[in-house]
Amino acid sequence: MSHDHEHHHTHEHPAPAPVTPDDAGSQALAEALHSSFAIVKVVMVLMVLAFFSSGFFTVGPQEKAVILRFGRLVGEGEKVLLNSGWHWSYPYPIDEVVKIPIRKIQSINSTVGWYATTAEQELSGRESPPGASLNPAVDGYAITADRNIIHTRATLYYHIEDPKRFVFDFMSAPNTVQNALNNALLYTAAHFNVDDILTRDVAGFRDAVLQRVSDLIEQEQLGIVIDQCEVQSIPPRQLSDVFTRVTTARENRNKILNEARSYENQVLSQSGAQASSVTNAAAADRARYVQSITAEAKRFSDLLPKYESNPGLFAQLTLVQAMGPILTNVQDKIFLPARADGKPRELRLQLNREPPQPKMAAPNP
């Protein structure tokens, strides 16, 4: 708007300027002045434009921005934060733009508790070999409840919930978060035993670290929310060999125990099967016995009236009836008629004894 205004003036002025042309010299001077005034005016317009356009700024994808107007934050609550894109503010000294590097998730690593190494060395596997002792100036470690030394480190992932608090109440909030994380590692290690941290209760240790960090952050009101916490712990490298042997021994023990348990299962299921077969057989026997005796009783009751009506005939009939199937089953039947003279006949039997059972079983199959 304002530069339109000035534009009109530049066109109005040239008309009254050449009113008193004295001579050629002064006319030339006036023309020179006139043209230089025009340049000055163009420059001024450009400067005004530059002044206002200097209020434009961009916010990158990995950051947010806030505007301080006369030093005071513009906006309330969530609206304080300007998202990535183009924005405009009044130029300095009215407004001041403060950019805050906020990624969606921020992360921070602990700095105490690990031996002296760098990420590159670790990746390439060319860490300096461990010395006989740990130098407190360079090597970090934590002391466990049972006064062992271990190395432990953590990475904390968080996002900023209250950027006003995070940026304007702390000189270096990430540093404060880091110290809270360091403190949590030491504090938690101080009431865990070495085996719990390394093997028995790794998750419990991590949760305890997380709990302590959360407590500290809440206490210090850092305005952040923790998303995740990763903890890694190892025994001192000087002792890794003996720690490995403990692990092997533990695994061996578990193996032996598992074998014993599988033996237990096998023996118990076998004995269970055997027991049930024994009782089942008994139950079958019982049923069979009871049934047969009942059947016999029934047959007896059926036969009784017939028997009573004529015992002699009944007995003979029954015997002859029974002899039929009996004789079919009998393997050798020898009929020996009485001698015509009625004298007793002499009969000699040569019994061929059966060979003992085991000998017979062997060649048979």
């Binding site: 030093g71 105490v112 002792s133 002391i143 504090y187 055997q274 005796i293």
Partner: protein
């Protein structure tokens, strides 16, 4: 005329801008400002952000301080615990300027570095005093009730806080914590030796424990199996007994005519005994072979 108006307007604007620069100062968010009049702090410090009036230099001068919480870590220094262990302790402190008017004259125009070096000396004495009151077991302990980690941090904080108050430094401590704990280098070596022997005890314990436990498991399995089978045998005997008892209820039927019962029993005994691999020798008196007696072909042959 138009030209005059323009000049006046532009001039006025310039004057206003110039006056603003001279007479107004800004206090940013997170800052606090102290205004001195002829070198003496006057009025309340400006601790709310905004634009304020001032007389231009040399009458008044504005000093601004950062009001945010600043981090400070002291040296990793060696202290003696109550039970004569050497312990290296490093603490971190979050401190801030709470009273800018008190802070400003104390540290040569409000130098943060000067404030930190004073803080460090206070920390050093507070730390060694507090660590000296506690045995090592208060720093590391599996029993949460006996662990006095928090208490130690609080004691150091209290000590420093009270020193700051008596000195009226205008500094407050927002939080204080232990950042690093350590043992002297030569002690780590003895700790390693102890740890190694502890590990070796564990190794042998795992070996013997595993075998012993496996033995117990196997023995108990065998015992249970034997028990199960014995129980099953007893149950089987009982079941058969029940069967016999049941059968006994049927027996009175046979008593109606013991003669018939006896006869039938003998027949079935005969059936069973002659079931397999039996050889029978008859003469013609045995029924049904008695029929042969009357065969006509038989008699003449004799």
């Amino acid at each position: 005329m138009k030209r005059n108006v323009m000049t006046i307007v532009i001039g006025a604007v310039l004057i206003v801008i110039f006056a603003l620069l001279l007479f107004v100062f800004q206090v940013r968010q997170s800052e606090v400002a102290v205004v001195t009049t002829f070198g003496k702090p006057t009025a309340q410090p400006y601790d709310k952000p905004g634009a304020y009036f001032q007389w231009p230099w040399p009458i008044q001068k504005v000093y601004k301080f950062d009001q945010r919480i600043q981090n400070f870590e002291d040296r990793f220094s060696q202290n003696l615990t109550a039970d004569n262990n050497n312990l290296l302790v490093m603490v971190y402190v979050g401190w801030k300027i709470t009273d800018a008017r008190a802070f400003f004259p104390k540290f040569a125009g409000g130098s943060t570095l000067a404030a930190q070096s004073m803080l460090e000396s206070m920390l050093r004495s507070a730390k060694s005093a507090v660590v000296g009151k506690h045995p090592l077991a208060d720093f590391v302990n599996a029993d949460a009730k006996q662990l006095k980690f928090d208490a130690i941090e609080n004691e150091i904080e209290q000590a420093v806080q009270s020193q700051l108050q008596t000195n009226n430094c205008g500094i407050g401590i927002a939080f204080l914590g232990i950042k690093k704990l350590g043992l002297p280098e030569n002690v780590t070596q003895t700790v390693f030796q102890r740890m190694t022997s502890e590990r070796q005890i564990l190794i042998s314990r795992f070996q013997y424990e595993g075998e012993a436990e496996a033995q117990i498991i196997k023995a108990s399995a065998d015992r249970q199996a034997a028990e199960t089978i014995a129980n099953a045998d007893a149950a089987a005997t009982r079941i058969r007994g029940e069967g016999e008892a049941e059968a006994a209820r049927v027996l009175p039927v046979f008593q109606q005519n013991p003669e018939l019962a006896n006869f039938l029993l003998r027949i079935s005994a005969l059936q069973q005994s002659l079931n397999q691999r039996a050889t029978l020798i008859f003469d013609e008196r045995t029924p049904p072979f008695d029929l042969f007696q009357h065969l006509p072909t038989n008699a003449p042959s004799r």
